[in-house]
Symmetry: C2
Subunit: 404 residues, 2 copies
């Protein structure tokens, strides 16, 4: 008689964004005349840049002709893309990362969910609190997190590192030593950045304690200030303790195109075993590569035209971030983020909980955001807005909130 993986049954409720989607659908069905503006889920709204569209059409034509058709992609991804990444995202920034340390995938969500598979079930994880839910939920599914305690909103076997206004949304080194440390900077959901010096402390800590850092740099393209690292490999010693995850979703608008990559330096080892070889084995056994046409689109991101067009796209969204930050501050809200990240993190007014504020905004302003408590217990009393809407909708949404 077969049995299921009952770790799944320990998961509380459904995935955050499914719950939000359901609430919005229900409100919308009950109030079909209301026009809802979505600044909740981190989905982009600008169309793909012309350089990417051109690359896609060209690759599609190649797939239609015998001489240029491509079947299965190489395990790690096409050389043309891995070389473009190694040059554009690493060597150009003085980081020593080789093309064969880059694993192309269909997105950072999959990678951040799958990466835990190559680690022991006995490892203990540490996460920022609040945090992108995928890190914790996928470890829970694997059975690494103990039991979920409804009252505290915490798992019994997870080290939470609170990031609140009190510590400037920067995690402190945990008292208990973790085995795996998930860090995401610029941060989702708080929009906070980390300085290079502060990140260097984490790298030193991980090397000293024998921990591995899983560094999610999905929002790197939004960094506007100096002294904020674009990659963890800008820090000395990161090659022996850190895995980096990158996405094309936010810098190039690929949320519906699907492309990402993971970097595992060959020096990152446990005893004699390199994590690179384990991830290569996983890739070879469970994955069959990102589509050829999508990998060509990824290559175009690093072309001269692509870079210029995408810099404009990022600037467009950051203009929205400014509208949100300034508008909310003028309306009396306490706001952070939005400078090196497309996320704005605000304190809910008075004693309102995050979900109360979600309902309030949805009903009174017809604006959708994301309740901070959905990202962890220390997110309670906070709320996330994203800069990924259109400029026009962003201005209108903030106008509605100010009018409340």
């Amino acid at each position: 008689m077969f049995k299921i993986n009952d770790n799944y049954l320990k998961l509380p409720g459904s995935y955050l964004f499914s719950t939000i989607g359901k609430k919005v659908r229900e409100y919308s069905q009950a109030n079909p005349e209301k026009e809802i503006i979505r600044l909740g889920i981190g989905d982009v709204t600008q169309p793909l840049a012309p350089a990417i569209i051109t690359a896609l059409h060209k690759a599609v034509d190649e797939m239609g002709a015998s001489e240029t058709f491509r079947g299965y992609a190489p395990d790690l991804g096409y050389e043309f893309l891995r070389e473009a990444i190694a040059e554009g995202d690493y060597r150009a920034r003085g980081c020593e990362i080789a093309a064969d340390e880059i694993f192309v995938s269909d997105g950072a969500k999959c990678d951040s969910g799958n990466i835990q598979e190559i680690f022991s079930l006995d490892n203990k994880i540490a996460v920022c609190d609040p945090v992108y839910p995928v890190y914790v939920d996928t470890n829970a599914m694997a059975g690494r997190t103990g039991v979920y305690e409804e009252a505290s909103g915490k798992w019994s076997n997870v080290i939470y590192m609170p990031c609140t206004a009190e510590n400037g949304f920067a995690p402190e080194l945990p008292k208990e030593t973790p085995d795996m440390i998930y860090l995401c900077f610029p941060n989702n959901p708080t929009g906070a950045a980390i300085t290079k010096d502060a990140l260097q402390e984490w790298v030193d800590y991980a090397n000293r304690e024998g921990a591995v850092i899983i560094y999610d740099a999905a929002y790197e393209a939004y960094i506007s200030e100096d002294g904020v690292p674009h990659s963890i490999y800008e820090c000395e010693g990161a090659r022996t303790c850190a895995i980096e995850l990158k996405s094309f979703s936010k810098n190039a608008g690929f949320t519906g195109v699907r492309l990402g990559y993971t970097v595992i330096p060959k020096e990152l080892k446990c005893g004699g075993t390199s994590l690179h070889s384990l991830w290569a084995r996983r890739h070879g056994t469970k994955y069959n590569g990102a589509p050829y046409i999508v990998q060509r689109a990824g290559e175009a991101v690093y072309s001269k035209e692509g870079k210029a067009q995408l810099a404009d796209q990022v600037a467009y969204y950051m203009k929205n971030a400014k509208v949100i930050c300034e508008g909310l501050r003028e309306a009396g809200y306490t706001v952070s983020g939005g400078v090196n990240a497309p996320y704005i993190w605000l304190k809910t007014p008075g004693t309102m909980t995050s979900w109360e504020f979600f309902d309030y905004l949805l009903e009174k302003a017809n604006v959708v955001g994301t309740p901070g408590s959905g990202f962890g217990p220390s997110g309670e009393g906070y709320f996330r807005l994203t800069a990924f809407g259109t400029y026009e909708n962003t201005v209108r949404a903030i106008g509605r909130i100010r009018a409340l």
Copy 2:
């Protein structure tokens, strides 16, 4: 101090096709003047059909315009594709499968590797022997297969169901009752098909014993004979015991495009928990959908033009299968498969092992095939050739083998 998942260290050598690739590369580098014909890996060679190219271009244009741009796809896949699948692959064949029982993915390799995650680590699996290596390797990575015994080529905690000439390459009901049964028909690697009556016996067995069948129907489009089921849901009672995996790789040439789907009927339960809800949770947490443009390409597979063009493509490959079967038989080989499947399974001559025959064919005929022993111990003494080459290359390869 972090630890790795040491189940990975139990895996023997590297993935079959990586080993073949390495051997071919080495031979090719040592003998650059030799022209190698590849009938080994199951990769297609015909370009994408015109109806699919048109759909891809149209979808790319949509992604380039604000009004039609699409970001994150719905968790289960776009309705337009799931409806086309439900109608084309199921309702049209009298199978009762609803669109919301279909989970669109980036391919059957990922699905067949990931599906084990929703099951208990205590479950015991049964596989055909020989078998597609992904089923066993991914269960080994999860820790479900015990230890690998070099001498027998078997895992201590796996039920092997030999498929050899003696039983007509059809697995018999195992003596020990498994929890999870992997079946693939038409079969990779033997090319054998199963009759509807024989498959009904498996469905009845699974329902009786409380086992779940994971049914890989990736080669369904190659079925040419009556009485051979295109889906396990043609069998009565399959909705309470079977998951079906499907690929667009072989029926539509999508090996480099990446699209597949998994069917989980809502009646398939363990106690009160539906497997559908577990897989939906996995999809929502660890996956972000197949690219929009690829899902539109998938939709075109079910259009009138798409169907006609792809029927021609399948016929093209099956003409190759005939060339291989007839040529080898005339050369004195014992051959099976190739009638309802794109794979031809042959007995190696005399006392040659599978790998000896691989080296022999590579060196003497410059033809690459796949050693049967790479698929499991009962594959020893057999060899797989695929019909996915070009017609010209297939004719030349068989000519070379006959000339030996």
